[in-house]
């Protein structure tokens, strides 16, 4: 089973570069990557730039509409993701709890729909 871990953060609560907590957070992410790698199962994951860098595209009647900004303006926004392989939801939830940003924001766990 593959699961996507979707990291949501409130930028006002999340550490930024320069904060003492930032270095700790980055070290946490390095450890988390090592932990994932140690299981020998494929995974991907990356942080995302902020919603101010987002562009949203819609195609209606064959016409492409492009607008500045994210899909929805919210206080918390998606700041990164992982896609990991697990045996079951309990493993995925345990992994989600180890995502360093879970201490500041939240991590949504969604099973990938296998077609």
């Amino acid at each position: 089973m593959r699961y996507m871990l979707i990291i949501h953060n409130d930028p006002e609560l999340h550490p930024v570069p320069g904060d003492p907590a930032w270095d700790e957070l980055m070290a946490g992410y390095a450890d988390f990557s090592k932990e994932l790698a140690s299981h020998g199962r494929p995974f991907i994951g990356d942080p995302l730039n902020g919603p101010e860098t987002a562009t949203t595209v819609r195609v209606r009647n064959g016409e492409t509409l492009t607008v500045d900004g994210p899909f929805a303006e919210t206080k918390e926004w998606m700041s990164g993701f992982y896609i990991i392989e697990c045996d079951d939801l309990d493993q995925a939830l345990a992994a989600a709890a180890m995502v360093p940003s879970a201490k500041y924001g939240s991590v949504e766990v969604r099973p990938v729909a296998e077609m």
């Binding site: 697990c86 939801l89 309990d90 099973p111």
Partner: protein, 416 residues
């Protein structure tokens, strides 16, 4: 025959279903197959009588029915899967003697924290309880359709998100057991505290709560907290008849006729609590049961050992530092040391702030004010409690108190 089959249905369905889910690895398919097996049993047993091992017979039959269902299913994907499951079913083919007990796994899956609490309750009652969907729906005052949808959604999530079918690992065990105990206690209390719905259904829910707590004890005999929960529900249930007056109004512990408490249930609670104590690992349910045991042991309200109850609440606060436990502790302190001491605890600003919208806070405070002879303030607090609840039984209780206050004010020159 119908009655005998009904008895087997109520007592064995959970065990048979739990085993089938383990074999076919599909909640829905297992449920359908178990239903088929009971239909088959109604026909076969009418002729040959109930077999010596009905659960074994049902598991074997349900397994065949599951394979039949898979063979018949139209989609190629499902047929393909069917062969894999056929092999599993074949491997696990009929072994004489008692069937493996998978009910513990089933309980942990039904009470998985990834499911909403409503879904946990509905799934637990439907999978391991003896109630029909209609009975569960009536007990929780929802339509049968709503309940059925809740269960369908929960089972879909179990499948799509791969919620595991197993007893959690040792590091998760304590927390997850807590969730299971909470669901069973919620089921019991839904019956015990309900102020609406018909009487029969409420009794059913209490019975189910007691039965499920007993099942947890049976499945986890060396865990003290299930014993604590089982003891607690027995103590509470012993007051079932005594806690309602002839007009159906709830009576407080003080007002109840203790002669009507069910001595058998009290004794059962006492034995369970003693077993829990021998395991020497205290926990919140054991402490709540111990408090209930002190009440059960008091021949009259006046003879209650309130000092012990205060000490038990002190311990309980270590486990559950919640405002409601603090509120109950304040009542015990008031009984042990006088209403003024209890009132001082209730008026402590942090607690008062958190509980400001909770009607039981105001009715408790009103009660202590009344005992302290401050009738006018008591009346105001009863009024406030009355505004904060829509519960009809609570209203009539509060109205009775207000009437009593008004009457005593007329007769006692110093009243108010």
């Amino acid at each position: 025959m119908d009655e005998a089959l009904d008895l087997v249905y109520r007592s064995e369905r959970g065990r048979v279903l739990a085993r089938l889910i383990a074999v076919v690895k599909d909640f829905d398919l297992a449920e359908d197959a178990v239903q088929d097996a009971f239909v088959a049993a109604a026909g076969a047993w009418a002729v040959s009588g109930i077999p010596t091992n009905p659960a074994g017979w049902l598991v074997t039959t349900a397994r065949r029915k599951a394979v039949d269902r898979l063979r018949r299913s139209a989609s190629a994907e499902r047929r393909h899967r069917a062969w894999g499951e056929l092999a599993i079913a074949w491997d696990a083919w009929e072994t004489p003697g008692p069937i493996e007990d998978d009910r513990l796994r089933l309980i942990f899956t039904c009470c998985h924290p990834a499911l909403s609490i409503d879904a946990q309750v509905a799934l637990t009652l439907r999978s391991l309880g003896g109630l029909t969907t209609d009975e569960v729906a009536r007990a929780f005052l929802v339509s049968e359709t709503t309940l059925a949808q809740r269960i369908v959604r929960a089972k879909r999530k179990i499948r799509q998100a791969a919620i595991p079918y197993r007893v959690p690992s040792s590091e998760e065990f304590a927390e997850r057991l807590g969730a299971v105990l909470a669901v069973v206690y919620l089921i019991f209390n839904a019956g015990y505290l309900a102020s609406s719905g018909d009487e029969l259904v409420r009794v059913d829910l209490c019975d189910e709560g007691v039965r499920l707590a007993g099942l947890l004890v049976e499945l986890l005999p060396d865990e003290p907290e299930p014993l604590g929960l089982a003891a607690l529900v027995h103590f509470q249930d012993s007051r079932r008849v005594a806690r309602i007056d002839d007009e159906g109004q709830p009576l407080t512990l003080e007002e109840q006729d203790r002669g009507r408490w069910d001595a058998g249930q009290v004794a059962a609670g006492g034995e369970l609590l003693a077993r829990a104590r021998r395991l020497d690992r205290p926990g919140p349910y054991q402490l709540k049961a111990a408090i209930a045991a002190v009440h059960a042991g008091a021949r009259s309200a006046d003879l209650t050992d309130w000092a012990t109850i205060v000490r038990l609440y002190d311990n309980l606060l270590q486990w559950e530092p919640t405002p409601v436990v603090q509120l109950n502790r304040a009542v015990a302190v008031a009984m042990a040391q006088g209403p003024a001491t209890g009132l001082a605890l209730l008026d402590e600003p942090t607690l008062a702030g958190v509980l400001v919208d909770y009607h039981l806070y105001h009715s408790t405070r009103a009660d202590l004010l009344r005992r302290d002879g401050r009738a006018r303030e008591a009346a105001a607090a009863y009024q406030r409690a009355r505004r904060q609840t829509n519960n009809i039984a609570e209203h009539s209780f509060l109205d009775r108190r207000l009437k009593e206050l008004a009457e005593s004010a007329e007769t006692a020159p110093y009243g108010g």
